[in-house]
Amino acid sequence: MFASIVSYGLAVGAVYALIGITYNVMFSASRVFSFTAGMLGMLGGVLGALFINKMGMNAVLAFVLVMAAGAVLGVITEILTVRPVLKSIEQHLYVLSTLAFALMVQQVTAIEWGTEAQPFPVLIPIDPNSALGLVDQKFWLPVLACIVTIVGLELLYRKTLIGRAFLAIAEDSYAARALGLPETRLRLASYAIAGVIGALAGFTGAQMLLAYFGNQAILNFYGFVPVALGGMGSNRGAVIGGIALGLFQQAANFLVGGIFASVAVFAVFIVVLLLRPEGLAGAATARRV
């Protein structure tokens, strides 16, 4: 059962980490948190099940389509709910606009797809008796996705000019704009990337989490905890936080049962935030006056 805790913990932790990275990528591009991170994760699973199980597509095609859908939803988030409120003096409207949009999507899913959790197909046909079949793919798929994402982002940020443009905007969007960088287009691209990452989290995690509209709320919260603990914008923090959260949750689940595990996670979340509002790795707040 130790193995079970570790494998579930790592796998679900990887999903949380990826959602945390989704939050972070959107935040770095716009200095705004969006309620659509969980939505993307949920849709990764639901759309995948829809394409493969209900529409009979093969896994690869479905994967591509789901990633594309994630990108599109990311773009819609930016255009519809973030860009219009960035200019406003009313600082916190983005919380409401992204919440509203995410809720709309969740409701459509609940109505059209149903409120029951539906099974997600096995993606890669592997003989369970072979060497590769030792560990169930529902465990290593999310972990692999997480690794690929991190490596991919690193390559993007370090090796491509556009990646460095993302970093520039995240650090100082005013200077980036003055330099002539196309801020709006780059922000759109960031949101598209975030959409893909969120969808990836949901798609690879769905064998565990199933295709369930309620995953949105779950992932919204548990995907945010790594961000809060690891510091806003810090992907490294999100990964560490996510994995730690996943393992802690599974261990608590096993030791004291589901309800107390949730309470424990929530308590840790609150306590850490109250002690260090900027997260364990975050920076101090800016001047107010």
Binding site: Q107, P277, R288, V289
Partner: protein
């Protein structure tokens, strides 16, 4: 604050109980409908109406949290859950084997809500908006899960019956009137708070936090009171809910419900009581009359929220605000009347002084202030000038308590002024203005200025809540003082106008008016002339000079050399955080080093 609780309306509306609710006709209409509904003897309408009353009781409290204080508490359904289960479990005797009387159980439900309201609300004091919203969501989930798991008390997934209230509030029309009365009470209480200095203080915290602090408003205490009240109301609503439903299970308390409350308030408009009431009623009643829509109701609410946020952030209240759409006169002049100052500032006290000694403040490796001595004396205008980055505004921020220096002392007549506590300055009658005007855009000019006098009120929160005489005396005094101050700075004709409709120069004078409400012994002005025309600067100068002649010590941080040389008694020149020169304006003007520093060499 646009309508229902605006104190301006008390001038016109009938006095007494209904006096402070503008849109009184709307409330009277609602009240009549509520009173007379039982005559229809349709139990279906009755149930819908009871549900609307119950939701409104919770929303009235949440309105203070979300609408007035601006805290995005999305997961507030948790209070309903807590109240419902507390009342039901106690009344059914599931706790300690004793069956509580329903009324006591209801009060206990309210108490539970109040306690947890504070617990959930406390993080709001430390956390960013999105983080706080998330914690309320997490809390709501936890509560539901506890309800599922704690079978002994809550009945777990199977649920538990709700209490049955005895005559005269028995199920049916009796209980209907019970909910109606409590809803009316909730409206009255929250409207009282909304139109009191507490309501204004909440809105100030929401929209202009630093200005609120400078006016002496202590955020923690006020927010805790509001969360207490809102939680209590939510808990009572929960208790009533458990009775109405007659049987509750955890899945009755959905996230969608939280959204409904929240959206009702935002659709109605922040800073209003009537708007959210209408919003909540509409959202409760609508699905009943559009049966095919029931399934899509949450979707439609969310879509409506999105539209509101993008198109009319002010909600219904803004749409109904006809007063503030009347055009204003185009070319308005600000004509201050300094001769009125003596009435406001009162008798000159003993001469006093603020003395800074050897203040140093480092930001990282940068020495923003590097060993500064400064003295501000009563009855003097002391100018503080210097190139960009010389530390002028930083010094002002240290004096007004927003920054803690690394070394040095700051004393007012020998007593140390506390660092890092800006909201205490009001007690010392040290007032200030800001480099960019901080205001509550949605409130009237008069209300904005009244915020400045919050610290001088005597009535307690409870007295405001219950509309007791001392609260009214406070309000009258505050309002009179604010009108006087507005007349002094020359803005009284704009008293009822929404502050965000004012020109920039008028806002600068409004800030001074707000500062004068403290009857300041010391007034700290941060670049008040920026953006003013030459004539306005002259009038500003005359006003400042007159203020100092009444005995107030003025610190004037400025770029406009002419204003400085015109009205200052003494001038200190800063450069790179250190005093470059200090003396009379004439001495400074011909001081070679000063001129060089300004012109660069």
């Amino acid at each position: 604050m646009t309508d229902a609780a605006s104190p301006m309306s008390t001038a016109k509306a009938p006095g007494g109980l209904l006096g402070r609710l503008e849109g009184s006709w709307s409330w009277i209409a609602l009240g009549l409908i509520g009173l007379l509904l039982p005559l229809l003897d349709d139990s279906y309408f009755g149930v819908i109406a009871q549900r609307a009353y119950i939701y409104w009781i919770l929303s009235a409290g949440l309105n203070l949290v979300v609408g007035y204080a601006g805290q995005i508490a999305i997961g507030w359904v948790a209070m309903l859950t807590l109240g419902a289960y507390t009342t039901a479990a106690l009344a059914a005797g599931r706790v300690g084997g004793v069956e509580w009387h329903p009324y006591l159980a209801l009060i206990a439900g309210g108490a539970m809500g109040a306690v947890f309201g504070v617990i959930v609300g406390l993080p709001a004091l430390r956390l960013r908006t999105f983080y706080f919203a998330m914690t309320t969501l997490g809390f709501a989930t936890i509560v539901t899960q506890v309800a599922l798991a704690w079978k002994d008390v809550t009945g777990g997934g199977v649920g538990t019956p709700g209490p049955v209230f005895p005559w005269p509030f028995e199920p049916g029309w009796g209980f209907y009137y019970f909910c109606f009365i409590l809803a009316a009470l909730a409206t009255w209480i929250t409207a009282n708070i909304g139109s009191s200095r507490y309501g204004r203080a909440l809105v100030a915290i929401r929209d202009a936090e630093v200005a609120a602090e400078a006016s002496g408003i202590a955020k923690p205490k006020l927010l805790i009171l509001i969360f207490l009240l809102a939680g209590g109301l939510g808990g009572i609503a929960g208790g009533l809910f458990s009775s109405l439903q007659s049987y509750i299970t955890p899945d009755a308390f959905t996230f969608e419900m939280s959204v409904l409350f929240f959206i009702g308030i935002l659709i109605g408009g922040r800073g209003s009581i009537l708007g959210p009431a209408l919003g909540t009623i509409i959202l409760t009643v609508l699905p009943e009359f559009a049966a095919p829509l029931v399934q899509w109701s949450t979707f439609l609410y969310a879509a409506l929220l999105l539209v509101i946020v993008l198109v009319i952030p002010g909600g219904i209240a803004d749409l109904l605000d006809y007063k503030n759409r009347r055009p204003l006169t185009q070319h308005r002049e600000i004509v201050p009347r300094p001769e009125l100052l003596s009435r406001i500032l009162g008798a000159k006290g003993e001469p006093s002084a603020i003395r800074l000694a050897n203040i140093a403040l480092y930001f990282g490796g940068v020495r923003a202030i590097d060993g500064l001595d400064l003295e501000i004396r009563s009855g003097e205008v002391h100018g503080l000038i210097g190139p960009n980055g010389s530390g002028k505004t930083t010094t002002l921020n240290v004096i007004s308590g927003y920054y803690r220096p690394n070394t040095g002392t700051m004393k007012l007549n020998g007593t140390d002024l506390p660092f890092d506590k800006p909201h205490t300055r009001a007690n010392y009658r040290i007032a200030r203005t800001f480099q960019t005007p901080r205001l509550v855009g949605a409130a009237s000019v008069l209300e904005n200025v009244m915020i400045g006098g919050t610290a001088h009120g005597h009535g307690t929160f409870a007295e405001s809540m219950l509309s007791l005489p001392r609260h009214h005396r406070d309000e009258k005094q505050l309002k009179d003082a604010a009108m006087q101050v507005l007349a002094t700075v020359g803005l009284e004709s704009l008293a009822a106008v929404r502050a965000d409709r004012l020109q920039h120069s008028e806002l600068r004078f409004m800030e001074i008016a707000r500062a004068l409400m403290l009857r300041p012994a010391f007034l700290l002005l941060d670049e008040p002339a920026a953006g003013l025309s030459a004539e306005e600067i002259r009038r500003l100068g005359a006003l400042i000079k007159a203020i100092s002649r009444e005995g107030t010590g003025v610190l004037l941080v400025e770029h406009h050399a002419d204003l400085i040389f015109d009205i200052c008694d003494r001038v200190t020149v800063l450069n790179l955080g250190k005093t470059l020169a200090a003396g009379t304006p004439a001495e400074i003007r011909s001081h070679r080093e000063v001129v060089s520093a300004y012109l660069g060499a």
